[in-house]
Symmetry: C2
Subunit: 379 residues, 2 copies
Amino acid sequence: MPFFRLNKRSSDSKARKGVLTTFHGDVETPVFMPVGTQGSVKTLTPEDLERTGSKIILHNTYHLYLRPGPQLYRDFGGAHHFSKWNGPILTDSGGYQVFSLADLNKITDDGVTFQSHIDGSYHYFTPESVIDIQKQIGADIIMPLDRPVPYPSEKITAQKANRVTLDWLKISKDSFKNSYNYHDYDQVLFGIVQGGVYPDLRKYAAEETVALDFPGYSVGGLSVGEPQNIMYEMTDHTTEYLPEDKPRYLMGVGKPEDLVTCIGCGIDMFDCVLPTRVGRNGWVYTEKGRMVIKNAEYADDNSPIDANCMCYACKTFSKSYIRHLFNAGEMLGPRLASLHNITFYQRLMENARNAIEEDTYTEWKNEFLAKYTGDDRKK
Amino acid sequence: MPFFRLNKRSSDSKARKGVLTTFHGDVETPVFMPVGTQGSVKTLTPEDLERTGSKIILHNTYHLYLRPGPQLYRDFGGAHHFSKWNGPILTDSGGYQVFSLADLNKITDDGVTFQSHIDGSYHYFTPESVIDIQKQIGADIIMPLDRPVPYPSEKITAQKANRVTLDWLKISKDSFKNSYNYHDYDQVLFGIVQGGVYPDLRKYAAEETVALDFPGYSVGGLSVGEPQNIMYEMTDHTTEYLPEDKPRYLMGVGKPEDLVTCIGCGIDMFDCVLPTRVGRNGWVYTEKGRMVIKNAEYADDNSPIDANCMCYACKTFSKSYIRHLFNAGEMLGPRLASLHNITFYQRLMENARNAIEEDTYTEWKNEFLAKYTGDDRKK
């Protein structure tokens, strides 16, 4: 069985529909992956996640490396046996957290030294070590250590980081092939395309990465503060240089409108903390946009967040009750909002897949965006 | 259908088994009622609670009165329609919170003035007003405003408070009978027996309260700091003066060993925040006592908290994973520990009911206590 099969291509956009096949199950694409940063999608159980329609989740290597540590994953027979999520798991490389979260980091051509944000202890990540850590964690899909640049960055900075990323990709590929396998199922390593917001660097990175031949390609270094239209342009530009028969994963993106737009740019896989993070703050998604459930207007509103949503929160509770939970500081509020928001994202992806299947993607996308961003109400 | 039916009496203790019948369902006694302070049993959904075996829950009138307010409950058709717990609900009178939690309180013979702990606003509770609030909330079982005393208190203080409580009980009974009913189902009002730790005051209070004829009797003012043996003695002493054919409710108690002991003193109903409160701090119950799941000894322990427990946490996760959740500050930890602890309490009550049915209560109680308190391991 190939790792990825492309089933359908949209005739009026770059949207595609396919299937990822892993030891822990098949995943239809385009797919959204909820983020279980520390081995738990915040507030939710694996049972809850299944009920949201989620098929694959992400774990953060940086966090799991520091706590509980790769040794424990090895002893447990991998993340699936530890966290009890039985579907596929993708791990990032930890690079993004090292550069954004760790207290101190010092980069050399060989790797990066950083201090733990938990206890200040010193650690060293190399392309080889992060492959080994992810193999121990037992992820189905593994990311190589890369070197993203912040926005804005000078072109020379982006160029140098691009060079480092490409050097590390080669090391990662060799290391992935030759290093020890702790678990008896297949794990796959993606390539990552960087290049900042410079089209020629993106093209170069994509071509060089594709030349190394990976089973899938990540588009990294976007959604780091650049304007939305630049993120869309870079995504659309990068996928031009990626092979049709391999999955494309846009890392760390994004809002519902980003997912819908970037599927149209040929992206197959997404992950983002947004639905759980904003959920914990009482923001909930509906097809007409984001709703701040704490607002006074919902104080005595006996209707659900979204009458069309099949999640437990919408089938059971009123806006009024969920608002009360947030106002009273009850943990059930963040839990219900997270459950709803992930369900909203998964239904959105299901609708996107159906639209691709019916070859009505662009029409569906425009209708969704008009309703969601409120453009239809302005008419 | 009578509100309470006694089905079985233990031949070698005062333990009893019975059934409470309410509009929202029947409840077998002895029963433990999880506490949903602000309209939510912390971290858990009604669906979760059903899975723990819970049949009746408690709400706190003081909290719900302040937020979201009785008017909202009236508009929603009662707490069952707001919180979506479909089983019976018992509300306390708010008195205990006014005396323990509110920033300032001033007691007169007619009621108590207090400042909200939320915003400092002034409020006034009377025996009549708390009946009206609880009628609006729509509780199946309602408590009258009483006047507990702290431990220790001089006898004269306990005596005066006892007098106030008895005066208020009369007012409450009249008010309950004659005031407006907001909902179209039966609600019942219990009497409350105070008297501090003074046997003669307890006897007097019990006899005077029983003379007023309530469908059930609460034993209040215990578990407020007095030694455990005094709490047991006062409970055992008080039930001597309560009628056999009415349920007895020991308010705010307690630990597993307290429940098991006080069932033997003739108590039928209990409520306590302990299983959820200690659960949020990572303490979990087992038949061999309380376990601090954060302890290093569980770091790589692949077994469940309790192999005999049927709760989702025990059927799914290892101690190691739940310990990791607590150490990483993941909200799923408190949720799983709360779920387990309430399930533990409900299984304990089920075992107690079975032991009463088989007329082996004292033997079962002693076996449980020996194992739970570790006395059997000292041999």
